[in-house]
């Protein structure tokens, strides 16, 4: 049961990574990041079967941080959109020195 859960977790994580790498839309990239977080959550839950309750506690923390991150991230995306009329990350390179 644990092994299957970890495989699903790995697949989800890989999907998230690939999404972050190949998509341009900030919202989709953001969602892929959430996907990666939850893939990790899944492996925490699965492993807590073997290693005790700690993994489940960690999941609560991760969800909390993810919620905060979502709030901040979405706010940034909205303000980027207001500025550029776009959320396509290829057009946004003002970080370049």
């Amino acid at each position: 049961m644990v092994a299957e859960s970890l495989i699903i977790s790995a697949v989800l994580f890989a999907i998230g990574v690939v999404g972050v790498l190949i998509r341009r839309n900030a919202i989709i990239i953001f969602m892929c990041v959430e996907l990666m977080l939850n893939a990790v959550n899944l492996s925490f839950i699965a492993l807590s079967r073997l290693y005790g309750i700690t993994g489940q506690v960690f999941v609560l923390f991760v969800m909390t941080v993810a919620a905060a991150e979502a709030a901040v991230g979405l706010a940034i995306i909205i303000s980027i959109f207001r500025h550029h009329e776009s959320v396509d990350l290829q057009n946004i390179n003002i970080l370049k020195g």
Binding site: V17, V20, L21, I29, L89, Q90, I92, K96, G97
Partner: protein, 741 residues
Amino acid sequence: MLLQPLASVAGAHPLSGTIAEYVWVLPILPLIGFVLNGLLSLVPSYHAGPADPGAGHGSSHAHSARVEHALAEQQAEHAGAPGTDSHLQARSRVASIAGVIGPLVVALSFALAVAMFVAMLKVSGQMHEPFVKRFFSWMPVGSLHIDWAFQLDQLSMMMVLIITGVGTLIHIFSVGYMRDDPGFARYFAYLNLFVALMLVLVLGASYPVMFVGWEGVGLASYLLIGFWFNDKINADAGKKAFIVNRVGDFGFLIAMFLLWANLGTLDFTGVAAHVGMLPVGGAVVTAICLFFLLGCTGKSAQIPLYIWLPDAMQGPTPVSALIHAATMVTAGVYLIARSSFLFSMAPVAELTVAVIGAATAFFAATIGLKQWDIKKVLAYSTISQLGYMFIAAGVGAYVSGMFHLMTHAFFKALLFLGSGAVINAMHEAYHHTDSHADAQDMRNMGGLRRYMPATWILMWIATLAISGIPPFAGFFSKDEILGGVFARAGHSTLASAHWLGIPGSGLLYAVYVLGLAGAFLTAIYMTRLMLYTFHGPNRTGEQEAKHLHETSWVMLWPLIALGALSVVGGWVNLPNFLDALGPVGALERWLDPVVGAAALRVTGGTPAEVGHGTELGLVALAVLIAIAGIALAVLVLKPAALVPKAQAAPEHGIQRVLADKYYVDEAVDEVIVTPVVQGSRNVLWRVIDAGIIDGLFVNGAAFATRSLGWIGSQLQTGEVGTYAWVFVIGVLAVLGAFTIR
């Protein structure tokens, strides 16, 4: 490797526990004077007050620099506050303090030196080794141990007495000579500094300590030559002296390195004890001596490095008397006498010294024949007389060299101070009429004996002394040198040696003939100086002549003291045939513990002597030649036919060559200075500095840094996608690295 002094091994030195323990006080006293006068010179209200006699007129003859300096100071100082009496008072009070401190500290040193001399006289019979006083370890580096130590022996005692004695007289003279100068305190600060460092030079117990004094007097000389630095010519003369002396100092340093490498010690006592390890006449000892000789030619103004001394006459005249005639320039002779244990082992080096001395003595005397500037005549005379000392040191007659050093200090200081009195009188006379004529040119003088009879008589005494007329001091010392050369040309280790293939004997006879010829020329140019300056009609100018007057007492009495010394100075080393006059060869016996062994080695074990008849014949010949020189000058030269400098016609032929000093300065400019300047500008500056240093290293480093930065900056695209890729690849790489391991 550290060598203890012989004295400490053999028990207490006869001088230990006596006043000689305070030898360190000798240079400290003038050093204190330097500090105090240096502080006084910083007092701003000291500078020329409104009623300063020197600042009243705006003339620009010989000493224009100090007058203009005074004016500039005055204007700067009183721009806001017009002259008040308080300024004048502040100036004169501070000035009189410097005028007291300066001579006082040197006089105290002299008094202490006399006390030490007395103490040394008491034990002179037992004093075979120098009294070495160690103060602290100066340079303990590996096996090199150099102590800060002073050495008091018969030779350094003699030098200390000359330096402080003549120095005191010249300091007193300076009080009168410099009284109107705005740099009065600064002048005495420098002069005190010179005396302090000169004492370090002669008291140092090792070559490095001596070198400190050697360099230090060079600095003081530089400061005093360029004392009136507002005129570029004076500053340039100071630089010339300094730079030419650097060439000589290079030789001194190389000689020290060689000594250290071969003997492992630099103390005089240590070198003297160990020099026997080197083969006599070997390449090493000859090289050491020749490099020392290079240093000596710089400091003592011998060929080829004499060119700085005539220019050094740009300094105040008492400075010329003290530094550039009586003391500092004799340091080279002192060094050779001090290193007699080395030089006596290297006949080739000795012969080189003698040849350089003879060539310089004759060469400089010929130039002296046609100089018009009174101080330039004396400058070339000094170079020539130093040549005689080198001849003596070169033939191993170290005592004769030191003897001539002493008598020369007396009569040449007298000549310079006398000329200073003349220049001062001329300067003031021209001052009254706002004339711009040259106060130092003999063509503007003439007939001064009517105005300055005391100076006239004293100058004649010095002239007869330098010409070698008995019974004046110069007769004894110059005669001893020439006799010594003649005796050693007949039989000595030098006579049997060869110099560049020339037999030493023949060479020494040539040196003797050159010495005689130089003596003849000396008599001529000195008589010429006296005739043109003091005799014949006055050419100063009708208005100006009314203001000519005898010099003040503060300047006259040092002249009288030096005059007395110039008369009796020869008594300290009477020749054998004058035993009726007193003890024969007192100086010879006094210096015997220091240089006696070396002198004997040169002569081959027995004292150099010629037969009684020959000796008298040589003396008669030398005196006849001197008298002939004076007589020739009196007969041929016509002071009445001279015209003032402004109306003088240019000279032609050989006279022109002599007046222009054989164009040596021009040749040096062409052959050395110009190539060095061109090379510095075109290669060192344009290629090395601007091209390689600035271009390749400085700008190149900046370019390389910026290029690397640009390459690094290309990694930063500003696109989040790229960063994500890099990040993922990085994570995978790290994970992969962990997994594989």
